[in-house]
Symmetry: none
Subunit: 193 residues, 4 copies
């Protein structure tokens, strides 16, 4: 489904590729939509497990940039290894192909919401040196932008444009740190109400 899209994947093809009868899929998942929902659910779980695993023992010192670099490069690794799941995820985000699979769409929304929360946490942890209040605000304000970066990173990855992921993440980190530090200065000078 990740490769051919939801509509482009026929139950017969899927069954043949899995080496099981079509009816076995229906027995276990009820419908094509149910299969997609299950696939997304499992993908989501594995994705977040991989993220948690990748971010075990984060660095407790170093500059904001070093810390964010540590988080994002590891996130990039997960991105590359979970490409199939993300392919399907982005596909469902940008098309209505799976309108008939509302459960799967809910998982999509959930993954994006939790994913953004995760990014927020990474940024906040990285900027903790600026003080907790500042770090919290910076994390909140930059999480959407960080997500844009990772979404775009994935599209770039799929377009096979040859640009190494590591370099792109480096630039993402550089940009985020620049914006984050500017914002931190601002906040220290004139703290929000």
């Amino acid at each position: 489904m990740a490769a051919r899209g939801y509509a482009g994947s026929s139950m017969s093809t899927l069954a043949d590729e899995a080496g099981i009868p079509k009816s076995a899929i229906y027995h276990h998942f009820g419908s094509k939509a149910g299969l997609l929902a299950a696939v997304m659910e499992r993908g989501a779980r594995e994705f977040f497990d991989a993220m948690t695993e990748a971010h075990r023992n984060p660095p407790s010192d170093g500059t904001s940039r070093e810390r964010l670099e540590w988080y994002f490069q590891r996130t990039g690794d997960v991105w590359v290894h979970r490409a199939e799941f993300l392919r399907l995820l982005i596909l469902l985000v940008i098309s209505d192909e799976a309108e008939e699979a509302p459960e799967a769409m809910e998982t999509v929304v959930r993954v994006r919401t939790e994913g953004r929360a995760y990014l927020e946490h990474m940024i906040r942890s990285s900027f903790i040196g600026e003080g907790d209040d500042v770090a919290r605000i910076v994390g909140r304000e930059l999480s959407f932008y960080a997500m844009v970066g990772f979404d775009g990173l994935f599209v770039s990855l799929q377009s096979h444009d040859g640009k190494p992921v590591v370099e792109l993440i480096d630039q993402m980190v550089a940009g985020l740190v620049a914006i984050g530090e500017a914002r931190s200065r601002e906040l220290r000078t004139a703290p929000p109400a």
Copy 2:
């Protein structure tokens, strides 16, 4: 096709929605793949026309940031208004749904290559104050990253996460300018071989 994907759009549905007989589509486009190719070709032309139009009379002074902001906010406008075309474009980039339509895929690659050249031109024009050589290098090095930004911007747009496009572009510009200026300083100090 943008809404439902290539596989998810049946010729019957398309013909009905267009209010013409199915055979008329075959008469004009030969096949479903031919229709997609034509759609992409026209979409690409209109897209670049809109970009050219939007960037008529660029500012000849101001800071790098101001100039890039001008370019990118206008690009963002085009993005928002050509969402259907971009939807299909990204869909074809991330999935193999239209493997049977190689002509369309060529258009996709062409649009992305030209699009990146366009972004490179915008960045270079914005950084022209750093000297032409530096601006050229900065433009080349940041064009992929800028594209990542716009790809991600589009995904964000489709996910209806509510974050205003203008703000995201502002952050994109801020990040790019920070990286670009740092790189400019570097290049001025130790020019590349």
Copy 3:
């Protein structure tokens, strides 16, 4: 469909038996329900045409019994020759098999309503010797009972119980005439308000 029922008749079987591709049926009738609707509609038209044809030039003299006999024996002929149509009709009356084909069900109701009107007309014409008012009342009151007779006659026919149709119709006529004459006497003695 008459033989195997609606649910028991698969489109594949029907197409094979008709010697045409399944898709041809869908092209012409849209769906299985549409096919049934068309079949019932044509059956109904042919049925009433056959009835009209059979009752051309009814006798203008003779006893009530002779006249009703003339009508009913000819109706019985139509019954026997349109057995397939009636089989499907009764099937749809007694089961919910074709719930998904509401158009067909409307035809069923229409055929029964018109059919009863037809029986009413036969009875009234036969009893015209009792006076038009009396004949009209007798026709109205006995039409349901006459229909019961023909419905039952058909079931008897399908059950292959070996009883000749001619004899059963003879008894139906005898019964109807007896009831009709008794009622006529009653009406002549004490006309209704």
Copy 4:
């Protein structure tokens, strides 16, 4: 099965509606055909039990008409209360839907044969005042016609045409009595060889 027909009733649906696992049906009845056979067998038993119960203590005096009326109105009650069973019975009589269930078809034939014998008995008992020989002949000759009446009555019932059952039975009785009495006179005048 009575509602949707044999072919129209899937084992899954039946099991779900019964609140038991599908395999339990197979455990007890062996096959779909076996289930139908069992259903018909039980239905037949209950049907005849209800008939016997309804006709306990028949009137030992009164006119033929009064006695037949007694029998038939009570039979009509059973008809109305055993509609589901009769629905399935008539369905099996008029269609070949359950060709694969020969045991059930045998039950159908048996029920109709016994049912006719029962009707014969009712008529004979009612005409006993005409002498046993005459009553026996009248019963034999009118049993088929009586069955036609009850078959048609059932179809009428299912067609929801609004005609009260009691009235129809009244007319059936009137008709039968008229024919029976005429035949009795005939037989008394010129007894058969």
